[in-house]
């Protein structure tokens, strides 16, 4: 790409008009003739053997379709990484809310009555509800030792550093579960019969994940399964793996009844039964010199995976690789484990393990700084990774990186130094509102880890019509982040066309190639690059065939498309991902180039604590990052602002209350996300350093903003309160308890 005619411009969102007028059609807006509604009967018990299923009296049960594990035509397991999670419990249950039985009926009100009237009687078995009990094997509930996956990353020889270390600093850090809370609940509609196969429409991030799962569930050939993404009202990871479950359920009911079946979860079911962010526990042990040089880091990182393996192994992977941050430390050991508990499986949520391990690191480094007697800023400046240095996995950073400059910029924009000094003075003088300012410095890798993209081998197509219109064919979904818009920008820029001439096709596995899942900050950088090369291929086809000159206008392009199609038929160009030769990854040793590129960032949070109510508020927020070239400034800033808001929720508001493995506050009334009254001004600044591996120089962006807010906020709260809080969500009750304890001790 030579110039930014469209790339870098705030063109209007492709589906913006439909969204602001209410015409955009989400899954619950679709109705099919003869459609039934489906519902899921779930386990009331965290672990046990199903003794009996009792259908209560007073309902016309002969009108209902009932599906149990016995009705499954293929394999009763959700195909993901391992095959341990059943679609429907068969004899045993391993968490509350586990699906046991499915019901369908034309009347959704009667269906709801019926769902409540089915009683699943379970003979209970001992269950495990915490990371500690799982690690301690209080009860072995999964495999031989409750461990889904473990990693060991070794750099240098960390055992050699402790004896000579000037300081050794230890700390323990915890993060809680977090609900994705997309405003559109999970939902699907399925049509299924032995002749035509299975078609599913639904709210989802990854149509080909659902496709793969349904192939196994029905034991049908791939071309007998079709998955179509409808307009999706938010995902944030919460619609990465779970749609495979709900799609399977609707399809099983449709298969049994021969009629279309719609399943839409209500909010309480969606919150209690579907995935959340993995809770985590991290232990740090750090050796540092008197001058503040990090010489050794030993990190133990554990996440709670819930009852089945699902995606925990890959969440753990990303959390592990990000655990040592953007610092140059010669000796690092990271040991990590994902363990089983009898909670619903935890799953993908924006950041995918990294927000957890980065929270621990960025809190811990403030402690290290205090121990050495340096400011948090100075400690980081002395250890920032530089171009040519290596990360914990031994990846040499080949691209330019300048964390120092990002930090300086973020401090200018936030007036950090003046505020830090002023707040210290005012807090000491007994002000009733305590204030603090803090920051976090971090990186986030884009795309699948290690060789992941190589194995995915994503494909993107560009198709031209005889009218000279171009359609981007990809399974990457628009979930609010702007896929439709940026793909059209990239293709139109490459082809020299107007933005309006290019559109992005609806993801439909019957029509688009598998461009991989819409996850891992990969849509812009990895898939966007494939859009660019597919568009280039289209142009070269036309030019190579003599249909189009070196330079052309849109009328000439139209004519070329028409002539080519008349002579040769459909005009499509496909591009398949090929991993650059300089990316090397050793999956066994967990060494090498973990990601093709990293985004780099410094976030600064200013907080206030009311000394009467102990409420913490974020008063100001500055987010400075380098994400390569920005494709669309409004969408990109929107990604950052939205991620920061979720990060503020993660830190201060979003408290999942567990009772024996079940979320007790599965309502928006008592699970609190930030409102328009809670969010501070979020000031977003991009430094742009083009990355050759991304379209127009772009890198990944989506997950990055989830990483920084929580540690920056807790670092600020430490200045405000003089208390080191190391667990989130940090609720007012915890602040009150700690401050009252401090007061008594004083």
């Amino acid at each position: 790409m030579t110039e930014g005619r469209l790339v870098g411009r705030p063109v209007p969102r492709k589906e913006g008009r439909e969204k602001v007028t209410g015409r955009a059609r989400y899954i619950d807006d679709l109705a099919f003739p003869g459609m039934l509604y489906g519902a899921t009967v779930r386990s009331p018990s965290a672990r046990g053997r199903i003794r009996e299923i009792v259908f209560g009296e007073g309902l016309p049960w002969d009108e209902f379709a009932v599906v149990t594990a016995k009705d499954i035509p293929g394999a009763n397991s959700v195909a993901l990484i391992l095959l341990d999670q059943p679609y429907l419990a068969d004899g045993v249950v391993n968490h509350k809310e586990e699906p046991v039985l499915l019901l369908a009926h034309p009347d959704k009100y009667l269906l709801e009555e019926a769902r409540r009237a089915v009683r699943v009687e379970v003979e209970p078995l001992p269950a495990v509800f915490s990371i500690e009990d799982s690690l301690g094997k209080k009860e072995v509930i999964w495999g031989e030792d409750n461990v889904f996956k473990s990693f060991l990353v070794e750099k240098g020889d960390v055992d050699s550093v402790w004896e000579a270390a000037d300081f050794i600093v230890e700390g323990e850090y915890r993060t809680g579960a977090q609900e994705q809370l997309y405003i559109e609940n999970n939902g699907v509609v399925a049509v299924a019969n032995p002749e035509e196969g299975v078609t599913v429409w639904g709210s989802m991030q990854c149509p080909y994940y659902v496709h793969k799962a349904l192939v196994k569930l029905f034991d049908l050939p791939e071309d007998k399964i079709r998955v179509v993404q409808t307009e999706t009202g938010g995902g944030f990871g919460g619609k990465e793996e779970y749609p495979s479950m709900i799609a399977g359920h609707a399809a099983l009911l449709a298969w049994k009844t021969g009629r279309p079946v719609k399943i839409i979860y209500d909010r309480a079911e969606d919150m209690a039964a579907t995935t959340k962010r993995h809770p985590s526990l991290t232990h740090h042990r750090t050796a540092v010199t008197r001058e503040g040089r990090l010489v050794g880091m030993e990190i133990d990182f554990v996440i709670d995976g819930g009852a089945y393996a699902t995606l925990s192994a890959v969440v753990l992977s990303r959390g592990t690789i990000h655990a040592a941050g953007p610092y140059n430390c010669p000796h690092v050991r990271i040991r990590s484990r994902a363990v089983a508990t009898n909670a619903p499986p935890h799953g993908a949520f924006r950041g995918f393990g990294a927000p957890q391990s980065i929270f621990a690191l960025e809190r811990h480094l403030d402690k290290v700084a205090a121990t050495v007697g340096l400011s948090p800023e100075e400690l980081r400046r002395r250890n920032f990774i530089q171009q040519g240095e290596t990360t914990a996995t031994g990846q040499t950073i080949r691209e330019p990186v300048d964390m120092d400059a990002l930090l300086t910029r973020a401090f200018e924009l936030s007036d950090y130094h003046a505020k830090r000094e002023r707040f210290a003075r005012e807090n000491a003088s007994g002000a009733s509102i305590k204030r603090g300012i803090g920051f976090a410095t971090f990186m986030h890798g884009a795309g699948f880890t290690g060789s992941g993209e190589k194995f995915l081998e994503s494909v993107v197509g560009c198709e031209a019509t005889p009218e000279g219109r171009v359609r981007v064919l990809a399974a990457s979904t628009e979930i609010g982040q702007g896929t439709n818009t940026i793909f059209a920008q990239i293709a139109a820029e490459t082809l020299g066309l107007d933005y309006e001439q290019v559109e992005t096709a609806q993801p439909d596995t019957g029509n688009v190639p598998n461009s991989g899942p819409t996850v891992a900050s990969r849509t812009c950088m990895i898939v966007g690059k494939l859009v660019e090369s597919a568009a280039l291929g289209l142009k070269q086809t036309l030019q190579g065939g003599g249909f189009l000159g070196e330079t052309y206008d849109s009328e000439e392009f139209r004519r070329a498309c028409r002539e080519h199609i008349e002579r040769h038929g459909p005009l499509k160009s496909f591009s398949r991902y090929k991993q650059p030769a300089d990316i090397n990854w050793d999956e066994d040793k967990y060494q090498g180039d973990a990601y093709g590129a990293y985004a780099w960032a410094v976030y600064v949070a200013e907080v206030s604590i009311d000394a009467l109510t102990y409420e913490a508020r974020v008063e100001d927020f500055v987010a400075v990052q380098e994400v390569g070239r920005v494709i669309h400034p409004v969408l990109a800033a929107g990604q950052i602002e939205g991620g920061v808001a979720q990060g503020i929720g993660f830190a201060l508001y979003e408290n999942v209350v567990w009772r024996e493995g079940r979320m007790e506050n599965s309502q928006m009334t008592n699970y609190i996300i930030p409102t328009s009254a809670d969010i501070p001004p979020i000031r977003v600044h991009f430094e742009e350093v083009p990355y050759a591996g991304g379209p127009g120089g772009a890198k990944g962006i989506g997950e990055l903003p989830m990483d920084g807010p929580a540690p920056a906020i807790l670092n600020a709260i430490e200045q405000a309160t003089d208390v080191a809080f190391n667990e989130i969500p940090l609720m007012p009750e915890a602040i009150m308890e700690a401050l009252e304890r401090e007061a008594v001790n004083a």
Binding site: E112, I183, G234, Q667, S676, A677, I679
Partner: protein, 162 residues
Amino acid sequence: MSTDARAVTGKVSVACEVNGEAVKLDAYPFARLLDVLREELRLTGTKEGCGEGECGACSVLLDGELVNSCLVPVAQVEGAEITTIEGVAGGERLHAVQEAFIECGGAQCGICTPGMVLAAVNLLARTPAPTEAQIRDGLAGNLCRCTGYMKIFESVVRACRK
């Protein structure tokens, strides 16, 4: 959360005006206005997010008041004037708030957008030039999980200038 509308026996006829048109609704009196709009009138722009009046995705204007239609039993709307998102634009001409939401990035996934647009329209009808605090307050009953609200605030400010 679905409530069993049939717990009260018999449907009732309710006359009201929806987006400027007189309609006669035939529904159980405790049916949620949200369901009647979506299922009887097929006005699916009004969304259900929580079903308990917390998220505002189902916001409509009822006699000029912003309400959560999931909390309004249809028996209450006899004689009322209702505006849903489908009634905000004048034909193909978008309302200034809608234009501003497109220009400023006020809509991402779009599921809160109908309710948020109505909340903004309602705010500007009462307060044509709101301060930032008034904007925050005026939209506080509508949750958005995508934007972090900054672009929504910008959209409202932009709409004022139109």
